[in-house]
């Protein structure tokens, strides 16, 4: 696991030395990032060394602190059309990153209670998951909200919830996703009916679930009109990128040009041309992948994706050694967090997902994300080491 961290660190370092400026001028962001890495590693060891009971005790207050930070952030002045950062002197804190982790931990804690009914699971899920998601939507931070959704489903799927309730909870969201395109929606309803039938449920239950989903289909236009114009634009542009190449699709197109022009072996370290054209305004943060793909080509970027998968795979493997239910749920949430964050970010870079502000874990420039991600790995490491203590 530590080896993996080291790989991450190396990638950050290399990613950050080439990405800004041309060969004459390099911006000093990479130095700041190294500082953040050191801070993160210190935090990483602190987390591992904290006694488990004490760690257990901080979960609930930490959750409420992160909620409070999400509230505070709403009062901050807007940057780029949204309020995501808390200004602390020279630092900018992005509380969404920390809220993800505290919510995972609290959810795991709440859902791991023995002898819990389906209704209790759903209620707790709603009580804990809804506040941060609502606050994120108010920022508005569509990207983080989606990540939250994935995390919650992952934890839900791994919890004691019965299959029927799981389907009933998840199906409306699939209904929303498919409601843009009628054939897809029909296929979804048919599949839904088939799965429900397989579960040997009463016809009345099956009927209710189906009608419920069809209702959502017709209800969607009203929700759609409630979205902000730029959010609508993003979704529409996602469905048809050529619709608005000047606006939301612009970054996606430019990012894809950068990636595509990298070809098989890339243009070489520091040799990228697209980045210096200001085509990619967020090239050292959210669009760092396109810089890697342009300079290191298919080989480099595929290698990076494989490293990421290996990283996720190791996290999944760690479940083998853990028997505690709460810890398993937490690890599951963290796996979902990383997987969704990594894949969605790369998908945005490839122009196959709507552009929303999401950093690439361990690679993108930014202290909050780095700290939060290191913290998450630290927690898993803690679970693993703690176990050996007990033995």
């Amino acid at each position: 696991m530590l080896i993996l961290m080291a790989i991450g660190v190396i990638v950050i370092y290399s990613a950050l030395t080439f990405q800004i400026g041309d060969e004459k001028h390099t911006s000093n962001e990479y130095l700041k990032q190294i500082t953040w890495i050191i801070v993160s590693l210190i935090l990483f060891f602190i987390v591992i060394l904290i006694p488990y009971p004490l760690f257990d005790l901080i979960i609930i207050p930490a959750y409420f602190i992160s909620l409070a930070m999400l509230l505070v952030v709403l009062t901050m002045p807007q940057i780029k059309g949204a309020t995501r950062w808390i200004m602390l002197g020279p630092f900018q804190l992005q509380p969404a990153e920390f809220a993800k982790i505290t919510t995972i931990l609290l959810l795991a804690k709440a859902l791991a209670k023995p002898y819990i009914t389906d209704m209790q699971i759903l209620f707790r899920l709603f009580a804990i998951g809804a506040p941060p998601m609502l606050l994120l939507l108010m920022q508005p931070d569509l990207g983080s909200t989606v990540i939250f959704g994935v995390i919650i489903f992952a934890i839900l799927a791994f919890s004691d919830l019965s299959d029927y309730w799981l389907i009933l909870t998840i199906s409306p969201f699939i209904a929303i996703a498919t409601s843009f395109y009628l054939p897809a929606f029909i296929i979804f309803i048919v599949l839904l009916l088939y799965v429900l039938h397989k579960l040997n449920l009463a016809w009345i239950t099956i009927g209710f679930t189906a009608v419920f989903n069809v209702f959502i289909y017709f209800f969607m236009p009203f929700i759609w009109n409630g979205l902000k114009e730029y959010q609508q634009n993003r979704i529409l542009t996602f469905l048809d990128p050529t619709r608005d190449p000047l606006g939301a699709g612009y970054q996606a197109i430019q990012s894809r040009i950068a990636i595509g022009s990298g070809l098989f072996q890339g243009k070489g370290f520091l040799e990228g041309t697209q980045k210096s054209l200001n085509f990619l305004p967020e090239r050292h943060t959210d669009f760092v992948f396109s810089v890697i793909a342009e300079e290191f080509g298919f080989i480099g970027s595929m290698l990076l994706i494989l490293i990421f998968y290996f990283f996720i795979y190791r996290l999944i493997r760690s479940l083998k050694a853990i028997t505690d239910k709460e810890q398993r749920l937490a690890i599951m949430g963290i796996i979902a967090l990383f997987t969704s964050q990594i894949t969605i970010n790369i998908a945005i870079n490839l122009g196959i997902f709507p552009t929303t502000g999401l950093p690439l874990p361990f690679i993108s420039y930014g202290g909050s994300s780095l700290l939060a991600n290191t913290l998450a790995i630290g927690i898993i490491m803690k679970y693993l080491t703690e176990k050996s203590f007990i033995r």
């Binding site: 950068a258 022009s261 200001n278 996720i312």
Partner: protein, 612 residues
């Protein structure tokens, strides 16, 4: 499902999205790679910003004041510079731009190599031809014809536009970042480092309206960067041009006043439309060449302006404060009458040409003396002795309070970005200055005739006299009238805070009006020079003595009416030989006569029937 099985399933489920990503990566980089490579290396698809045309400025009869004219500008694209010193030498051979200046320009923008930078504005046609012949050897340089601001008249109210400064640019960028969502390019007021921005005057005050909004166009640039063609023209977002503006200024009157302003002297003449407070003419001398700022200003010209002892850059209407001299006697009169200190027919000390207080002699302007006068006569003759004596009966705080209550000390709030306050010394100020309050009386005697520490801008004096003409209704002065061709609520005037009331009783006001009418129209009145047959002219002259040796500042402040008061005129000329009565008043008279003969008949005409 056993634990191990579950983990195996999970590994596969989570592998899926990664494989999908790799598949896409394969498609973009291997299958379609050549296409993207071509786009990236040979055809830059770029968003070109289309800048709006700046709104033009016209006078009330649509006569142009600030317009746009085509000009050829020289640009450089740093990314294409091969040998900087060679390029610099070339530019330096033809234009007054040194190698250091060019290097500095490029260094400031070093993180944006593909940002075009403006090197020199408004090249002469000969220079363009001369340089164009050799331009092939310098692919980083190119010409572009753009709109340049041209001012038809040099004045102090329009202000000027100039190259955006680094700090102004960063400020606008910051504002833009806060206002917009990063992922969409919205139509907005935004600037590039090459833009011009309103620096002073109306150009700055109404920048938002004059500027317009940027448009965008997707263009393809080939390897040489020259052949630009539109990428997809259905995506064009045309710029929204700035709004044209109509001012309250009457350019004909403005020109006339400029033409009669005493040559070689400095000062200001302000004419207001009495009823609204709109500025009809706004003259401040000396003027400077506004058009120099639309070009790349030569450093020599700038340093000449700054070091010129007559301060041509100073707007004397709003930014210069003068002792109001005898025009201030109107204030003293109002304070004295409204506080029942004296009555209109009260006769004070007999004027023998001077006034003795302590061991100092204060002189009246008429050495032979005015004899015993009533208040009205004292105003008409502008007798100093009467007001010296009056000053002993009026407490300083009373005057201070009156000045505050009648908006003489605050800024008038005219729609220009800079304006100075007036100043009136308080008791505390004197105590701090002189160490005790015992010497105040001596200063107060001077203050009574508007000399000494009291300082007002011509605009403040004008606004005050305008309120007297309006029977006490104070109007906020303004220059901007309306925008042309825009559905917009932007009109000036009407707001609550623009209309106030002087704190002078109607009786006192009427007395003041009568007295200053007599001062212009009766023989022996100091303002007789401003008399215009056919018009009812009211006014007060003033002569502010200066430090020994130099000539005084001469004043006239008053208004003229036909059925009702129509225009308010303030004249001040610095260091002019003579008195307000024999210099400033005749100037005001000529202005009023010109207005009566030439301007008044055209009033009420709309834009459509242009008088010229």
């Amino acid at each position: 499902m056993s634990n191990v099985d579950k983990i195996r399933v999970l590994s596969v489920i989570f592998l899926a999205p990664f494989l999908i990503l790799i598949a896409f990566l394969f498609r973009f980089q291997i299958l379609e790679g050549a296409k993207y490579k071509r786009i990236a290396e040979f055809n830059f698809v770029r968003v070109q910003t289309l800048y709006p045309i700046r709104g033009e400025i016209y006078d009330r009869h649509f006569r142009p004041i600030a317009v746009n004219e085509p000009a050829t500008n020289l640009y450089i694209l740093p990314a294409r510079v091969k040998d900087l010193s060679e390029v610099a030498d070339f530019i330096n051979r033809h234009l007054p731009v040194t190698k250091e200046e060019l290097r500095e320009l490029i260094h400031q923008n070093r993180f944006r190599a593909y940002q075009e930078l403006i090197v020199y504005r408004n090249l002469d046609y000969e220079k363009v031809v001369e340089m164009a012949e050799q331009l092939d050897r310098y692919p980083s340089l190119f010409f572009r014809t753009e709109n340049m601001r041209h001012y038809t008249r040099n004045n102090h109210f329009t202000g000027y536009v100039g190259q955006i400064s680094r700090s102004e640019y960063e400020e606008t960028q910051k504002k833009r970042e806060q206002e917009r969502d990063l992922t969409t390019i919205q139509q907005q007021i935004s600037y590039s480092i090459n833009c011009q921005i309103g620096k002073t005057g109306l150009e700055k005050q109404y920048e938002e309206y004059l500027r317009g909004k940027n448009g965008y166009r997707m263009i393809q640039v080939d390897a040489s960067g020259r052949n630009i063609r539109v990428f997809r023209d259905d995506l064009d977002l045309p710029p929204i041009n700035g709004s044209d503006m109509i001012l309250t200024i009457d350019l004909k009157l403005q020109d006339y006043i400029e033409s009669i302003f005493p040559k070689g002297y400095n000062g200001a003449i302000l004419v207001l439309d009495t009823e609204s407070g709109g500025v009809l003419s706004y003259v401040s001398h000396p003027v400077f060449d506004l058009n120099m700022f639309s070009k790349t200003v030569g450093r020599d010209y700038w340093s000449d302006l700054v070091s010129d002892p007559s301060f041509p850059l100073m707007d004397r209407v709003t930014m210069a404060t003068y002792p109001p001299a005898s025009t201030f006697k109107v204030v003293m009169t109002a304070v004295a009458l409204d506080n029942d200190i004296i009555q209109p027919n009260t006769r004070l000390a007999r004027c023998t040409g001077s006034y003795q207080y302590g061991n100092r002699r204060y002189r009246c302007w008429l050495e032979t003396g005015h004899g015993s006068l009533t208040l009205s006569d004292a105003i008409k003759h502008s007798c100093n002795v009467y007001f010296f004596d009056l000053s002993l009966r009026v407490d300083l705080p009373l005057i201070d309070e009156f000045m505050h209550d009648n908006y003489l000390l605050e800024r008038t709030g005219i729609d220009l970005p800079t304006e100075r306050r007036g100043f009136f010394p308080s008791v505390d100020w004197y105590v701090n200055r002189l160490g005790s309050s015992s010497l105040i009386t001596g200063h107060k005697i001077n203050l009574a005739i508007g000399q000494g520490e009291v300082l007002l801008t011509p605009l403040q004096v004008g606004t005050f006299f305008n309120a007297i003409a309006n029977d006490g209704h104070w109007k906020r002065p303004f220059i901007f009238s309306r925008l042309i061709g825009v559905q917009n609520d932007m009109t000036s005037g009407s707001a609550e805070s623009n209309n106030r009331q002087l704190s002078i009783t109607p009786e006192t006001l009427e007395f003041i009006q009568q007295s200053i009418y007599r001062g212009v129209n009766e023989s022996g009145g100091t303002g007789i020079g401003a008399r215009v047959p056919g018009s009812r002219v009211y006014g007060k002259t003033g002569t502010a003595q200066n430090a020994a040796g130099s000539d005084p500042h001469v004043w006239f402040a008053g208004y003229a009416g036909w059925d009702t008061p129509e225009i308010t005129v303030v004249v001040i000329v610095e260091n002019y030989p003579g008195t307000g009565g024999n210099t400033a008043a005749p100037l005001a008279g000529r202005i009023i006569r010109y207005y009566q003969d030439e301007i008044r008949p055209t009033n009420g005409l709309t834009l459509n029937d242009n008088p010229n």
